[in-house]
């Protein structure tokens, strides 16, 4: 089981802030492929990965990173703080 969090327009497009999933995905990219296959709103949210960032257990990571041992995955657009 893995917690998946969405922020900013990713959250708005998917329509929920977080969900808990059962997945066999080996990498973040594999998880994205699974999610896109679920529904058009996921397909829309993940259409352009270059416009997205990912954090694994609250640390910025990459889409080819392995998911083994990870409890929390977050997807969001580039940050605009400060």
């Amino acid at each position: 089981m893995i917690d998946v969090l969405y922020f900013a327009w990713v959250r708005e497009r998917i329509g929920l802030p977080r969900e808990t999933l059962e997945t066999q995905a080996a990498t973040v990219a594999d998880l994205v492929t699974e999610l896109k296959a679920r529904e058009p709103r996921y397909e829309a949210a993940f259409a352009d990965l270059s416009a997205l960032r990912v954090a694994l257990d609250q640390e910025l990571s990459e889409f080819d990173a392995p998911l083994k041992g990870v409890r929390e995955v977050a997807f969001f657009p580039p940050m605009t703080g400060g």
């Binding site: 969090l5 922020f7 900013a8 327009w9 959250r11 954090a55 609250q58 640390e59 910025l60 977050a74 969001f76 657009p77 580039p78 940050m79 605009t80 703080g81 400060g82």
Partner: protein, 146 residues
Amino acid sequence: MKISVQAAPFDLGAELSEFGTGRADVGAVVSFTGIVRDDSGQMHALELEHYPGMTEAAITRIAQEAVERWDLADALVIHRHGRLAIGETIMMVATAARHRAAAFEAAEFLMDYLKSRAPFWKKEHGPGGTSWVEAKDTDEAALKRW
């Protein structure tokens, strides 16, 4: 070192009044304050979403890196989230160092990292609805100098 992620306003003067004081080795204090700007003349408010938990951790890591790299006597970061009106203070950083060059550089480093590496997202509320602020290439480029 003080790190705070909060919805409530903060008092810049009160935060700075004691910052970096009481030490004979501090010669320079630099502060930066970010304020909600309205370039279009039509914005109603700015909304800041963040990633609770990760935000504090990311900012603490960035601040610790600044303290070590520039041998700071102290560092301070306050960043707000939620809905803010035009002219309201969004965030502040402060650095205390022996010399001015270190205090300035560390404050600029903190700002460059907060802009692109702390998990905040800005949304503008205007007459035509809302829109997410897009990340600027210049902000990403600013990181390259460190």
